[in-house]
Each structure stands twice: as structure tokens, then as C-alpha cells.
Amino acid sequence: MIVTRVQAASFDAAAEITVLTAGRSNIGAVVSFTGLVRGDDALVSLTLEHYPAMTERALSAIAAEAEARWPLMGGIVIHRVGRLLPGDPIVLVAVASAHRAAAFAATEFLMDWLKTKAPFWKAEAREGGTTWVAARDSDEAAAARWRAAD
């Protein structure tokens, strides 16, 4: 069961990962991804807007797709919204499985789909003003990898 959460508050990636395996002895592999705000080019802050009515639906659908594709033994997806500062965590994906191949694949898949199928938008604030981050072709290409396996 992959739990999904959207929140303005920060999260403790380490604690969330620890919870996945606590008290269990049938998990062989845990893979985690943490995305953080990079302070490149004098970034002052990053603001994440989302479409609340759709976000939960989209995250649940993405999680369900991962569970259908790989034999997982638990997982968590946390995505933050609101105003973040350089160094702040934005997103956490962590997945537990018996074997490493499934855990790696599911984590990468969840990130690729979050990037392209969940309704979040980033605006970067710098001294000179605020600009919306443009979608990257490389993210579309990464997400398209998983279609070939359908």
C-alpha cells in the first residue's frame, strides 16, 4: 500500500523511510528519492501551486499504477505545496519490496509520473521577479519510457 500526501509543512524524509520497514522482516530492499530546492542562480524561493481537487486523485492513480506493475510491500509519496526555500525538501518517494529491481523501478516510475501527470506548477522567485518553470522534454521522455513496457 503506497500512502500519498500533499502538504505545505516540511517532512522528515529519514523518519518516513524508517517507518516503511519498522517491525518487518520480509522486506529486502528500500529505495527512496528526495527532491530538494536547489539555490541555483540566486533563487530566493520556489512556490508550488497545485489543483487540489485533482491532486489527490492523480497521486492515488499514480500510486495504484505502480502497485499494479511491481510487487511492492509498502511505500510513501509526499509532495509539498506553497513557498519553499533553497535546501527545502519538495518531494519524497520511497518504496519497499522483496528485491531491489522492483524497488528501483517503482521509485523511478513514481517520480517520472509525478513530474508529468500530477497537477503541480513551480514558480521561481529571484531578485528580478518571478518566473514559471517550463516543462522539460527530458521529463516527458523519462515518463514515456514506461509506456514501452505496457
Partner: protein, 84 residues
């Protein structure tokens, strides 16, 4: 009626979070709706000018140009997503 929601720079360019409008005559699909909306004001025209940079969700699910738009539905219009 139809509920329109705008996000990110679509919201900023139109100058509204959203609007609730009577279902326009002759609008059956997402593509019809975008064409009709583009003529609504100069701000709408500017926001929707580059159709390749516009994404749409109907009732919280990603939609294509041919997706039906009917009375009572929620149509969200926004740029490509950039989360994660």
C-alpha cells in the same frame, strides 16, 4: 453551467482563478471550448494563444482536444505540469 479553473501562468494571464459560465452554444469538446474562450477577452486570447502550451483536465482527469465538455463539468486549464 460550466466551472472553469485556471492555474499557474494561465491564471495570471487571464487574471482570474476561474469563472462559472453558462454552457456556450456549439461547444461540445475541449477544443471547441478553447476556441470559444479565446474570443472572450484580450486576456483570454493572450493566455490561450499557444495551444501547444495548454493542458486541460475535465472533471479532474487529463483531457484531449476531443474530450466531451458537458453542462455541470469542471474544466481546468493550465500549462504543462512541473511538479516533482
Amino acid at each position: 453551467m460550466i466551472d472553469l479553473l485556471y492555474f499557474a501562468w494561465v491564471r495570471e494571464r487571464i487574471g482570474l482563478d476561474g469563472e462559472t459560465l453558462p454552457c456556450p452554444a456549439g461547444v461540445a469538446t475541449v477544443a471547441d471550448l478553447l476556441d470559444w474562450l479565446s474570443d472572450r477577452s484580450p486576456a483570454h486570447t493572450a493566455a490561450l494563444a499557444d495551444r501547444s502550451a495548454i493542458r486541460v483536465a475535465v472533471d479532474q482527469v487529463f483531457a484531449g482536444p476531443g474530450t466531451p465538455v458537458t453542462a455541470g463539468c469542471e474544466v481546468a486549464i493550465f500549462p504543462p505540469v512541473t511538479g516533482g
